[in-house]
């Protein structure tokens, strides 16, 4: 006997907290919201009178814009705060910042922060709902959800697919959330990249590690390249970007190992010629722009659902 499902999450902190049922529910909601963005008048009154604060401690163009567009198309009032990363530097702790914002009664705080776990800290100290828009090298759940939405849209399903994620797995919150999310939905996630960028114990999150990129890509339904974050490297991880491109970059010849109808994804922004060649990034297998489009729909769904919008 099945109980009636209800979406019960107040916060979206990571894919770790979401069940496959939750994920399916979010993706279904996102699909129905996608149509709004295609209307001549791209606005629904669903979140009228709700206040959404985008609290970004790290630079971001597309994620922040995507969240902001999503909130505005739902008629929420949105505010953006860019802050310097280190609480020590700015002289106010994250908890103080959060409490100050909370005193103005926002409904949702969307946070991006360079410290893993900062959304959890925020959620512990304030009443508003918290959405994690990327925390350190931990999670980026809305990115994983838009990736899963795109895959489901193109492949009709997620279960049983082979997903290859190539690149800097260590520093990628996108990879972490995707490994958790796709695995929960029944896909097999293979990861590959320089061994210096494959973190300890990633297998325990459900990933299968392939020392050779070709093995990860072989018969894959989805090939996802990750950004090489040149600014985040603390230790010697790579000899040169040139060497990375020739041994770990996605190109036409590597893609021949994948399924003929495989799709190519990238969370952006792309270092063209490094993670993938331009012909692959712009080729007919690429769904990179669909990912961006779906990002708005997924974020609309998240805003709607955590506001308790289960009564459509």
């Amino acid at each position: 006997m099945e109980f009636e499902y209800r979406f019960q999450h107040k916060h979206i902190l990571g894919m770790e907290e979401l069940s496959s049922r939750d994920i399916t529910f979010i993706l279904d909601a996102a699909e129905s919201f996608k149509e709004i963005s295609q209307r001549p008048i791209k606005k629904v009154p669903t979140l009228r009178g709700k206040t959404v604060i985008h609290l970004f401690f790290e630079p971001s163009t597309r994620t922040r814009l995507s969240f902001e567009i999503a909130a505005k198309r739902m008629s929420a009032d949105t505010f953006n705060i860019s802050a310097s990363t280190s609480s020590a530097k700015k002289g106010e702790t994250l908890i103080d910042t959060a409490k100050n914002l909370a005193s103005m009664n926002p409904d949702i705080i969307v946070i991006r922060h360079s410290s893993s776990g900062s959304p959890h800290l925020l959620a512990k100290h304030i009443r508003a709902s918290v959405i994690n828009a990327g925390d350190g090298t931990h999670e980026h759940p809305s990115q994983a959800l838009l990736d899963m939405m795109t895959v489901r849209e193109k492949k009709g399903r997620i279960a049983g697919l082979k997903i290859a994620i190539i690149g800097d797995i260590s520093h990628s919150r996108v990879a972490h959330s995707n490994i958790l999310g796709f695995t929960k939905m029944g896909a097999k996630v293979h990861v590959s990249g320089p061994a210096t960028l494959i973190p300890a114990g990633i297998e325990q999150m459900g990933a299968i590690v392939c020392p050779r990129v070709a093995d990860a890509v072989e018969d894959a339904d989805v090939v996802m390249a990750l950004r090489i974050q040149q600014e985040r490297q603390l230790d010697p991880l790579l000899p040169t970007l040139r060497e990375y491109a020739s041994f770990f970059g996605i190109n036409r010849s590597l893609m021949r190992a994948a399924k003929p109808d495989a799709i190519i994804m990238h969370p952006g922004p792309i270092n063209r010629g490094v993670e993938m060649t331009t012909d692959v990034a712009d080729g007919e297998q690429s769904v990179i722009m669909d990912q961006v489009t779906n990002g708005v729909a997924v974020r609309m769904a998240l805003l709607y659902l955590i506001m308790g919008g289960d009564d459509r």
Partner: protein, 436 residues
């Protein structure tokens, strides 16, 4: 404080490993010294003496914590010599060795003298200052060991940070010999641990936290063992936390190297899982490790590889701890929980009561070359009474330290110190004996 010229502690279970004694007995304290020890009921209460019937609970030599941070001078908002030694007394400790990473660093005789003057005036425990290995603990020039020793330092360490330069460590080991100072190594290869905030492994990956690999500790232990052996000097390794560290020390001892080692109660009581959802009260350096490391630490305590239990009591205020995990300060307080956490190992039959007292009293005294660690007649009356069955909850309101950064808050414990005497003076009274 109450001071009694004559005090009789009757009918305790006297555990004194220095004299291989574990039997019921009485202890008579006169003018701050242990004047007489006898079988239970054998010593009559002298007229006008206070007399405490211990009803069979443990009567042991005063506990000595050879690794604490008292934060004074410089960070008095976290702890002071007065509050830190009061905390020590409440945990059953009669003496502590305080690490030099104060502000200013204890790298010269003036700071050492300041600490000892303060301790004499306000301390509730004996304080043994540990001087710095290098000036300002910067790891480039040797500190003035002769003057540090003359002022009262018992050892040198750059604790809190490793001595990265191998040549400097070699020179420290050599030169410390001239002044008979023990070198205490904070073993960490910082190029491997840099920016790390918890143990490296599947959990650090899942939490997105930068890891500190176990080899960062082990490589440096190996270097320091090799250097100490090469120059023929003893060395003490602080706060070991990994399985391989225990094994390195075990093998060095078998070879006859003069090495001693300590671990902290959190390394035999908790694993990295205590980090949970970014709990900064489980953040320290070295970090909490995995279950097999914890098991190896326990075995090392049992088989004698590890010589001492030291708390690494490291007070921090909410300002340093109620922040993002990767920005939180390292360290937890430990003086008040060492006895109950070690008693848990006794109940699990890993340690005998006598071994526990060796680890917490006799060995630290021997390693540091200080008085205490025994209940021999004629010794100073540094005495701890432990009720191994007393249940208590370690609640935030009851914390004696100025800081409450403990992962054990809210834990229900069995067993604790109930009476602490330093030189015959009661420094902690959990029995209600201060009133006569």
């Amino acid at each position: 404080m109450t001071f009694r010229h004559t005090l009789l502690l009757r009918n305790g279970r006297i555990i004194d490993p220095a004299n291989t004694i574990d039997e019921p007995g009485d202890l008579l304290v006169i003018d701050g010294m242990i004047s007489q020890r006898g079988k239970a009921g054998s010593i009559a209460c002298p007229p006008e003496a206070a007399c405490i019937d211990l009803q069979g609970i443990w009567l042991v030599p005063g506990l000595i914590d050879m690794h604490v941070h008292l934060r004074e001078p410089g960070e008095e908002y976290k702890e002071t010599i007065a509050s830190g030694t009061r905390t020590a007394a409440a945990g059953g400790f009669t003496a502590v060795a305080c690490m030099p990473n104060t502000n200013p660093v204890n790298d010269n005789q003036s700071v050492t003298s300041f600490i000892l003057t303060k301790a004499a005036a306000e301390g509730a425990a004996r304080v043994y200052p540990v001087g710095a290995i290098s000036k300002n603990s910067r790891g480039t020039e040797l500190a003035e060991y002769g003057e540090l020793k003359r002022a009262g330092a018992v050892a040198v360490s750059d604790d809190g940070r490793p001595v990265a330069n191998s040549q400097l460590m070699r020179r420290a080991l050599e030169y410390s010999g001239n002044h008979d100072l023990l070198v205490i190594s904070h073993a960490e290869e910082s190029s491997l641990s840099e920016n790390g905030v918890m143990n490296e492994g599947p959990l650090s990956t899942r939490l997105g936290l930068r890891g500190i690999p176990t080899v960062a500790e082990e490589i440096m232990i190996y270097r320091d063992l090799a250097l100490a052996e090469y120059v023929g000097r003893p060395i003490h390794i602080a706060h070991i936390s990994t399985r391989e560290s225990v094994d390195l020390i075990r093998r060095a001892k078998r070879k006859g190297c003069r090495v001693t080692a300590e671990t902290a109660p959190h390394y035999f009581s908790l694993t990295e899982e205590a980090v949970g959802i970014y709990n900064t009260r489980a953040k320290m350096n070295p970090p909490l490790r995995r279950a097999d490391d914890m098991a190896a630490i326990r075995e090392g305590l049992r088989d004698g590889t590890i010589d001492a239990i030291a708390t690494d009591h490291a007070p921090h205020s909410a300002m340093e701890k109620d922040v993002e995990f990767d920005q939180a300060a390292n360290g937890i307080i430990g003086l008040e929980t060492a006895v109950p956490l070690t008693l848990a190992l006794v109940r699990e039959n890993i340690l005998t009561p006598a071994r526990m007292i060796e680890l917490l009293s006799l060995q630290p005294a021997r390693i540091l070359g200080v008085a205490g660690g025994t209940l021999t007649e004629g010794s100073p009356a540094d005495i701890t009474v432990i009720d191994p069955e007393k249940k208590f909850v370690y609640a935030k309101e009851d914390v004696v330290s100025k800081s409450c950064n403990s992962p054990f808050l809210g834990w229900e414990f069995t067993g604790r110190a109930v009476l602490t005497l330093v030189g015959g003076r009661i420094t902690f009274d959990g029995l209600g004996q201060t009133e006569n």
